[in-house]
C-alpha cells in the first residue's frame, strides 16, 4: 500500500512532472475549447513530440491534455453554442441559454466544479476497480480478447456516426492498415508491394495526425470567415449552496459516466448525452425548464464526461482495449514507449498504474484551478483568427509527423491520410473507428490465430467454445446484437413495442 502511494505521488513531488501535467491540462483546456479543434487532434499532434522523452514525462503531458480537453469543450458550448468537443454537445443545450441570460460566468463556474467532482469520482472508481478487472482479465481466453476488440470497434462505428455500414468499413480499413508490414509471427510480407520501407508498417502517428489533425483543419477551412462572438463574464466561482444543491445529481450522473466510459467503444460524448437524459427524468420540478437554462442540464453532462475519463482508463490499462479514439491514441503512444497495456501491466508494472492514477488526480486539480481563473486570456485565444490558427496547426502536423522517425515518407503518408480523412468525413464516414482498428489490428490478429490454433484449426470447435463459456457468449451476443439492432427487423419491432407501451401508459 505504501508502495502504491509512493508511485501515486511521483508526479506530485517532481517539479518537472508537476509542471508537465499543468502544461498538458492547460493546453488541453484551450485546445479543447477552440471550436473545431478536438481533444483527439490535440493529443494526436502533441503526442508525436514526446516520443524521444522518458515514459513518465510523456504520460504526464498526455494525461493532462486528455483531462483538460474533455473539460475545455464545455467553454465554447456555453459561450458560443458551439461544443468544442463531441462530449460537450449536451452541455450546450442548457449552457448557452444561461449565457444568453447573462449568466455565462456562473455557468462556467458550476460546470468547472462539477467536472472536477465527476473527474474525481471517475479516478476513484479506476483506482478501486482496475486491480479487480485486471485479475478477472487474466481468465480471458484469446477468443474473448478478439470478441471484445471487435465489439469496441463496432460500438464506436455504430454509435458515433450515421450508419453502421460506414463504421464497419472504417474499422476494417483501420485493421488492414494495422496489418501492413512484416507479419509479427512468421515475418511474411503483408501489403508491402516489395518495398522495404513498408516492412515496419505504416507509421501509426502519420495515420493519426493525418486523420485527426490535417483532415479536421481542412474541414475548418469551410468556416474561415466565421467571426468569434464576444461575451462578458461576471462571477465565476460558484456558491457553496449551488454546489451542495446539485451534488446528489452529480453523484448519480458520475456513475453513469464511469460505467459508459468503461465500456469499450463508448466515451464521454455518449456518457454526457445519457446523463442529460437521466437528469431530465429525475428532476421533477426544475427551477427553469430543460433547454432554457436549467442548471441540472449543465451539471449532468459535465460530471458524466469527466467521470468517463477515469472509466475509459479501466479497459485501456487492464485489457489493452481503448474506449474511444483518444484512448486509442494514448495506447498507441504507450506501445511506442515500450509499455504493454493489458492485465500483465498491473502485475509486472504496478508502479505505472499508480503513477497514471496520481497524474490523473493532479490533472483534475489543475483543471479546477485553470478553469476558475484565466478567463480573459481564454477569450483572447478563442478569438484568435482561424486564418492564423489553421496554418499553424497544419505546420505542427507536418513537424509532428516528421519528428517521430525523422522521415519525410511519414509526412507524405500523413498528407495522404489527411486528404483521405477529409473526404471520409465529408461523405459521412467516421474516422474514429479507423484509428481504433489500427491500434487493435495486432491484438485481434494474434488472438484469432492463438484461438484457432488451440482449437486445431477447427471453426466448429471454436464456435462451441464460445457457446459454452459464459463470458464469450455474452461478448458474442453483444456483437450479434449490434448487427441486429441496425436491421429493419429490429426498428420494426421497437416501433411496435414502443406504440404498445405508449398505449399502455395512456390507459
Amino acid at each position: 500500500m505504501t508502495e502504491a502511494l509512493q508511485f501515486f505521488l511521483i508526479s506530485w513531488l517532481d517539479l518537472k512532472l508537476l509542471g508537465l501535467v499543468a502544461l498538458g491540462t492547460f493546453a488541453g483546456i484551450y485546445v479543447g475549447a477552440i471550436p473545431g479543434l478536438s481533444v483527439t487532434m490535440a493529443v494526436s499532434i502533441l503526442i508525436s513530440f514526446t516520443f524521444a522523452w522518458d515514459v513518465y514525462p510523456a504520460l504526464c503531458l498526455m494525461v493532462g491534455i486528455y483531462m483538460g480537453g474533455v473539460y475545455g469543450g464545455s467553454r465554447t458550448a456555453i459561450l458560443l453554442n458551439i461544443p468544442g468537443a463531441p462530449s460537450a454537445i449536451a452541455t450546450a443545450l442548457d449552457g448557452y441559454p444561461l449565457a444568453q441570460k447573462g449568466q455565462a460566468g456562473e455557468a462556467i463556474g458550476l460546470s468547472t466544479v462539477m467536472s472536477f467532482v465527476g473527474g474525481f469520482i471517475g479516478i476513484g472508481v479506476l483506482a478501486v476497480a482496475a486491480p479487480f478487472v485486471s485479475e478477472f482479465a487474466l481468465t480471458f481466453q484469446p477468443r474473448d480478447y478478439m470478441l471484445l476488440a471487435i465489439l469496441g470497434i463496432l460500438l464506436v462505428g455504430s454509435l458515433s456516426g450515421e450508419s453502421l455500414l460506414k463504421g464497419v468499413f472504417a474499422g476494417a480499413l483501420g485493421l488492414l492498415i494495422g496489418a501492413v508490414g512484416l507479419d509479427p509471427l512468421t515475418a511474411e510480407e503483408r501489403f508491402t508491394f516489395g518495398m522495404v520501407e513498408l516492412w515496419g508498417g505504416i507509421s501509426f502517428i502519420a495515420v493519426m495526425i493525418g486523420l485527426f489533425g490535417v483532415s479536421e483543419a481542412l474541414t475548418q477551412l469551410h468556416h474561415i470567415d466565421k467571426a468569434a462572438v464576444k461575451q462578458t463574464i461576471g462571477r465565476i466561482v460558484p456558491s457553496w449552496r449551488a454546489v451542495g444543491k446539485y451534488l446528489p445529481l452529480s453523484l448519480q450522473t458520475s456513475s453513469i459516466g464511469v460505467i459508459i466510459g468503461a465500456l469499450p467503444g463508448t466515451g464521454g460524448d455518449i456518457a454526457a448525452l445519457m446523463a442529460y437524459d437521466h437528469a431530465k427524468r429525475v428532476t421533477k420540478k426544475p427551477e427553469v425548464p430543460f433547454g432554457e437554462g436549467a442548471a441540472e442540464g449543465l451539471v449532468a453532462p459535465e460530471t458524466a464526461n469527466n467521470a468517463a475519463v477515469g472509466g475509459a482508463f479501466i479497459p485501456m490499462l487492464t485489457l489493452g482495449i481503448p474506449g474511444d479514439a483518444v484512448t486509442a491514441i494514448i495506447i498507441g503512444a504507450m506501445f511506442i514507449h515500450g509499455l504493454n497495456p493489458g492485465p500483465m501491466l498491473m502485475i509486472e508494472q504496478p508502479q505505472m498504474f499508480w503513477f497514471i492514477t496520481g497524474a490523473l488526480v493532479l490533472a483534475n486539480i489543475f483543471m479546477l484551478i485553470f478553469g476558475l481563473t484565466g478567463i480573459r486570456l481564454f477569450t483572447k485565444i478563442v478569438e484568435m483568427p482561424r486564418a492564423v490558427l489553421i496554418p499553424l496547426i497544419l505546420l505542427l502536423s507536418i513537424v509532428g509527423a516528421y519528428a517521430v522517425n525523422n522521415s519525410i515518407t511519414d509526412v507524405y503518408w500523413m498528407l495522404l491520410f489527411g486528404a483521405f480523412g477529409y473526404l471520409l468525413k465529408t461523405y459521412g464516414y467516421q474516422v474514429g473507428p479507423v484509428i481504433l482498428g489500427v491500434i487493435l489490428s495486432r491484438l485481434i490478429d494474434e488472438n484469432w490465430r492463438r484461438a484457432i490454433i488451440s482449437e486445431q484449426e477447427d471453426l466448429g470447435r471454436l464456435f462451441m467454445g464460445v457457446l459454452t463459456s459464459p463470458l464469450s457468449l455474452v461478448l458474442f451476443g453483444a456483437v450479434v446484437f449490434i448487427f441486429i439492432s441496425q436491421t429493419p427487423l429490429w426498428t420494426g419491432l421497437r416501433a411496435r413495442f414502443g406504440t404498445a407501451r405508449a398505449r399502455g401508459d395512456g390507459v
Partner: protein, 172 residues
C-alpha cells in the same frame, strides 16, 4: 454537413473508389498466403478486406438509390479552391523541407497561407508568421528538442554560438 438522405457531389464516385480499393486489397490479401490455413498470416487481412468489400458495395448500392441531390457543387462545396490550395501548399512544404530547411520553409508556408486566408497585407502576414514561428521554435525545437532539417540556415552553429555566449566562453 453530410445529410444521409441526399446525395452529395462526388459521393457516388467516392463510393466506387472505395469498392475498387477494397477489391484490390482483398486480392492482395489473398496473395499473402492463399487459403492454406485459418491461422495463416493472410487469414486476418483477408477477413478485414472482405468486410471492407461487403460494406463498400452495400454503401455504393445505398448511394445509387438516393434520388435527391444536394444543391452543392464539387469544386465549390466539397473541394473548394481554398482547400485544394492549402493542400498543395502542404505538399510544397514537404518537398522543400529537406533542401531549404525547417526555418525558411516554415516561414514561407506560414506567410503565404496566412496571407491567402486573411488578405490583410503581406507585411502583416509576414510579421504574424515570424512571431508564431519564433514561438513554435522555442517550444518544439528548444524545449521539446525536436530535430528538424536545418537546410540553409546553420541552426546548429548559431545555437552553439549562443550557448557559448551565455556560458561566458570559458569552455574554450
Amino acid at each position: 454537413m453530410h445529410d444521409p438522405s441526399k446525395k452529395m457531389p462526388g459521393e457516388t464516385a467516392f463510393a466506387v473508389v472505395l469498392v475498387g480499393l477494397s477489391g484490390f486489397l482483398l486480392w492482395q490479401a489473398i496473395l499473402i498466403s492463399g487459403f492454406e490455413a485459418l491461422s495463416s498470416p493472410g487469414a486476418f487481412p483477408m477477413a478485414a478486406a472482405f468486410a471492407m468489400l461487403v460494406t463498400s458495395v452495400a454503401i455504393l448500392i445505398k448511394t445509387l438509390r438516393l434520388r435527391e441531390r444536394m444543391a452543392l457543387r464539387f469544386f465549390t462545396d466539397v473541394a473548394p479552391p481554398v482547400i485544394l490550395a492549402m493542400f498543395a501548399m502542404m505538399l510544397g512544404y514537404a518537398l522543400l523541407l529537406k533542401p531549404l530547411g525547417f526555418l525558411p520553409t516554415s516561414l514561407l508556408f506560414l506567410t503565404l497561407s496566412i496571407f491567402a486566408l486573411r488578405r490583410r497585407g503581406l507585411l502583416w502576414s509576414f510579421g504574424v508568421s515570424l512571431a508564431s514561428l519564433a514561438l513554435v521554435y522555442v517550444i518544439f525545437r528548444l524545449v521539446f528538442t525536436v530535430l528538424m532539417p536545418s537546410g540553409l540556415v546553420p541552426e546548429g552553429e548559431i545555437l552553439a554560438w549562443l550557448g557559448n555566449l551565455f556560458s561566458g566562453g570559458d569552455t574554450q
